[in-house]
Symmetry: C2
Subunit: 479 residues, 2 copies
């Protein structure tokens, strides 16, 4: 136990310093390492396996809605990026430029894609002629580069991995419906696969994506009470089609501009997983998404038959469809326990000589540390039953945390006091004026997270200027 | 039928102009489109789906041998690239350089990865201390950039997708064994999943990878008799460890340099699939790898019940584990037939009003065009039986083509005559001298493809200089 304690003590407690706790978990759970370039991460096996799990779950959800995967070029010519003025103004300050290829300087510099609206639009321009060519519902999995000043693993990197969906439709109504549909896919994925509750809503004009008519978002609440934008879906109307000349002949034989959307979810979501579910022993992964669900830890593994039995149980659990590993390293059981806890593996199965003699083993839940004794033969069935229970419990705890940290402020005084005393979301009325948003940001270091779809009438006046209110907004400090 | 003929006529016949046939297939089967940057492709849904199929089959084979996926940064600092002199000399002329990030020029320029030995070695340098940390068997799926002068879809691009495996071991023996093991994984994958036979062997020093002690290769033979290097596996010995200072404390408590390997297979393999199996109607995909295995084509689909029955059959085939689609577009059956043939979908299932009345349908094999009539109820079972048969037949035809186009030349005269009259591989003896390799390349425009593992004693003297022979080599014109 001394050894186990020692290992656990290596993580800063989240109550002492949440930022250091986060960095400790990210590195000690073996997710990433830093490279020689600021903001460019090395994804180690445990970190990349999490991203693979996100990909496979989300990709299946996409394909169920008719999404087709494609791949667009990594580099974008400057003139192509410049065609849509809002987009280029939004992204130009943070792109990386390639200026020579081989030993020769390039005639036109190329940027490493920060996002691919421009290349998709350029492709649609030549690929879409008739209403028969519509809709196209495309997605790509790739990495993008944005030259951020401040960087933190997963939350803000200069290179990050994501998926970017890009669709094109005959009507603006259809595009708007697709924008909503994909936002719902993200929210369902977060709730069902990641056990993360989110608030759905629309971004204010100040916070929306450069070039979008409207941006929709899902916002999650981290353990420290700060919000994390976890997925966004953009409705472009015909804005890009007009900039890139994407016209099609409709059924009525008239030439019309097509309507577009894009939507993205990135490796940021791994930051959300860590900060929603983690505890002072490390990561806690929801069993549905966990790359390894069960770690079998043999006790007194040098005694005859112990390791054999551990591998026998591994084979039986695998055959039952569980993702399972045996820690057969030459470390002590105490070390292995805390290592499994640090890595957030949802269950451990302890098996020693006495257990084997009795035909029993011990299961331990990572989230509650509850110990469940059961017969070796029934371990698979027991675990299959525990997975949905643990998944649901984790979601309920996260939902309670979100609800317990969502406040209401009716007046400027209440608004100020809440941010002075509490952490979390504050629901308050807003006049719709960008100036008030900026004042609020300056005064309290909080931003508008979204105008939620579920509106409430908390007061009749803006929490900043006192003029008539237009919308209820979720405000919070955010990552 | 007139319409079908017309569509088919759009492809250049491979006997008339193989290069144009290839380009026609690549674009008309909807695999890729060209972008505005030379050598950067747009992968359309059918092209990307093929790459996804390659990824899922190969990734499963990798993981079965203990490979773990990771992800390394896209950009590499110049000083890191420069540490291994052979590698930098090999790649410097063809890398793309990033010189500014955001609005600021960078202090040190960064190259877009052309391959990642340097970043993996740099990571291993800080991550490997003890024999307990070894081996590490890593792989990443990504795209790389090499500024090639001549480009052709899949075969040679400035950006291409691939996997690059990078492993590190305590002993050179273990590294060498891993190099061989992964070459065999590639050969098995080509044979079993792609129905492509390959010749296994070692590259000559002239043709090996920059920085490798030894490069192993699998070489396939295209329909026009030219060879395509389809996957390579490199044994680095301790060369990179010495350049990057990767030392570990071994069991004997001594500090030693670690041994490394790398191995890669790229989107080139899609070029091989096209040129090994394609015909004058387009692509022919082996059923094991085909993203869509069966296209259901309704005849007289406007008649009541036809489309319903087509979707009913689709559901039944899907439930049986087949990958299937219905072509319910408003095109004629003739158009749909030739479209399905162009796209290389292994089977089509024709279903019309008369078939429905009789409870029958017609299956057509893409490779032989054989028609098989069967009951609607037994279609799933029939197709499941046909898949391994068609896969095997395709492999056997490709193998026969390879064997029929492999020649033996014992003397300089025979060597010259064979290349003048035949296409394909020529097996001939070589003294081991680089000068002879260069002479042969200059005289006949052929390169040494590999020193095959299965050696034969064709003659006792070199086919170029007449001095004593060291090895038998496969020679060919190559892509």
């Amino acid at each position: 136990m001394a050894e186990q304690k020692k290992l656990v003590e290596e993580i800063t407690s989240m109550d002492v310093d949440f930022t250091r706790w986060y960095t400790d978990v990210v590195t000690k759970a073996g997710l990433v390492a830093y490279s020689h370039i600021k903001g460019f991460l090395v994804y180690k096996p445990a970190g990349y396996a999490l991203w693979e799990a996100v990909q496979s779950h989300l990709d299946a959800r996409f394909k169920a809605t008719g999404v087709e995967n494609v791949y667009m070029p990594l580099l974008i010519p400057e003139n192509l990026l410049a065609k849509e003025s809002d987009l280029v103004n939004g992204f130009a300050p943070e792109v990386a430029w390639v200026t020579s290829g081989g030993s020769e300087p390039l005639q036109e510099r190329l940027c490493v894609r920060p996002t691919s609206e421009t290349v998709f639009s350029d492709f649609f321009h030549s690929d879409v002629q008739s209403y028969r060519d519509l809709p196209r519902v495309y997605n790509q999995w790739c990495s993008v580069v944005r030259w951020e000043k401040e960087t933190r693993p997963f939350l803000r990197s200069r290179e990050f991995m994501w998926q970017e969906g890009h669709t094109i439709h005959a009507t603006e109504e259809e595009a708007r419906a697709r924008t909503q549909q994909m936002l719902n896919v993200y929210a369902d994925f977060c709730r069902e696969d990641l056990a993360i509750p989110t608030v759905r809503g629309q971004k204010t004009d100040k916070e929306k994506f450069a070039g979008a008519e409207a941006t929709y978002t899902i916002e999650a609440l981290m353990h420290d009470g700060r919000a994390l934008q976890s997925g966004t879906s953009h409705d472009f109307g015909t804005k890009f089609a007009e900039a890139y000349g994407i016209q099609f002949t409709d059924r009525d034989n008239k030439l019309k501009y097509a309507a577009q959307t894009s939507w993205g979810l990135s490796t940021r979501i791994i930051g959300a997983l860590i900060m929603v579910h983690g505890d002072n022993s490390g990561l806690v992964l929801p069993p549905v998404i966990a790359p390894t669900q069960v770690m079998i830890i043999p006790i007194q593994q040098k005694k005859a038959g112990v390791l054999d039995k551990a591998f026998e149980i591994e084979a039986a659990l695998k055959a039952a469809g569980l993702r399972v590993k045996v820690d057969a390293s030459d470390k002590s059981p105490g070390f292995k326990f805390s290592d499994q806890e640090m890595r957030g593996i949802p269950f451990r199965l302890e098996i020693g000589p006495r257990d084997i003699a009795n035909g029993r083993c011990v299961l331990v839940r990572r989230d509650t540390r509850e110990k469940i004794e059961c017969g070796i033969e029934e371990a698979a069935e027991k675990l299959q039953g525990l997975i949905p229970v643990m998944q649901k419990d984790m979601y309920e705890r996260a939902k309670k945390h979100l609800e317990d940290h969502t406040w209401t402020a009716a007046t400027p005084g209440e608004f100020e006091q809440t941010f002075a005393e509490k952490t979390g979301f504050v629901k308050a009325m807003w006049c719709g004026d960008r100036a008030c948003e900026e004042t609020i940001k300056e005064k309290y270091s909080v931003t508008s997270r979204c105008i939620p779809f579920e509106q409430e009438e908390i007061a009749s006046t803006c929490v900043c200027c006192g003029r008539p209110a237009a919308k209820m907004v979720y405000w919070a400090k955010a990552y």
